[in-house]
């Protein structure tokens, strides 16, 4: 299993770039210095997938402002991505790179490849500017992911990156309390954090 806190494996594959309609190589390490959300999904022209990709597309401007780039990835080809983008109302708003992994090489590298179906499951990876994996979420294909929770997690990771002496407690959101982990509060975390705070 890919481990959080470790460097993610690099990859290079074809991608469709909706902003100019081009097809080009995409290399993960080109994104060093930026936060990256790498988002695997099973297949173009299916059912839950367009709802998820649309949700990411609607959140994309907010993510860009946070210094986050998005790369979607499925085992479809770039040609499929292009036509999906051109023809599906839910996919037309997509501006981020749509990676193509028809051999399953990248999906296997990230351990989200389903050998039986030949597709990737819903794996989402939050990668920090140093290429370190910070969070993974993998869902069975019949349930979509929650972009609000994705944004919350990135905000929390960005906060603790800027404030390395702090930790973000459960459900933390910007403006809410963080605290410094210290042996003095072991067993007494309630003294510095209350569920309602």
């Amino acid at each position: 299993m890919l481990m959080v806190g470790k460097e993610v494996p690099d990859f290079e594959t074809d991608a469709f770039f909706p902003t100019d309609g081009s097809i080009d190589k995409i290399k993960l390490s080109d994104y060093r210095g930026k936060w990256v959300v790498l988002c695997f999904y099973p297949a173009d022209f299916t059912f839950v997938c367009p709802t998820e990709i649309n949700a990411m597309a609607r959140a994309y401007d907010e993510l860009k402002k946070m210094g986050v780039e998005v790369i979607s990835m499925s085992t479809d080809t770039v040609f499929s991505h292009k036509v999906w983008h051109e023809t599906s109302e839910l996919i037309k708003p997509v501006k981020f790179a749509m990676g193509a992994d028809p051999t399953g090489k990248v999906s296997r590298l990230y351990e989200v490849y389903d050998e039986e179906s030949g597709t990737a499951v819903r794996g989402r990876f939050i990668i920090d500017p140093d290429g370190i994996l910070r969070a993974v979420e993998v869902l069975y294909p019949n349930v979509g992911r929650n972009v609000k929770e994705l944004i919350r997690q990135i905000q929390a990771f960005q906060y603790v990156r800027e404030h390395p002496d702090q930790v973000a407690p459960a459900g933390w959101e910007p403006g809410k309390k963080t605290f410094a982990p210290d042996i003095k509060i072991a067993g007494k975390v309630y003294t510095v954090w209350k569920p309602e705070e």
């Binding site: 074809d14 081009s22 097809i23 080009d24 190589k25 995409i26 290399k27 080109d30 994104y31 210095g33 930026k34 780039e69």
Partner: protein, 77 residues
């Protein structure tokens, strides 16, 4: 890539990076980003395109226009 004829032409962004390199001779990815306003992942892609076409070479993170790159840049004027 199946059934796709390789594109021999440079993309518009690659052309603009090549023109910039023709002016300054060599630059890092970040310097190109600062001067061009393009984002660094895009610049990295386009530099690979230029390297693949022999117009640019890399040395320790610095991208240098080659003689053939200079010729192409001259034609782009």
């Amino acid at each position: 890539m199946p059934c796709l004829k390789p594109n021999k032409n440079l993309s518009e962004q690659a052309k603009s990076i090549l023109k910039l390199l023709a002016e300054v001779g060599k630059a890092t990815k970040q310097e190109i980003a600062d001067k061009s306003g393009l984002n660094t992942p895009l610049i990295a892609r386009k530099l690979r395109e230029l390297i693949g076409k022999g117009a640019v070479k890399e040395q320790d993170g610095v991208f240098i226009i080659t003689d053939s790159g200079k010729e192409v840049a001259e034609k782009l004027k």
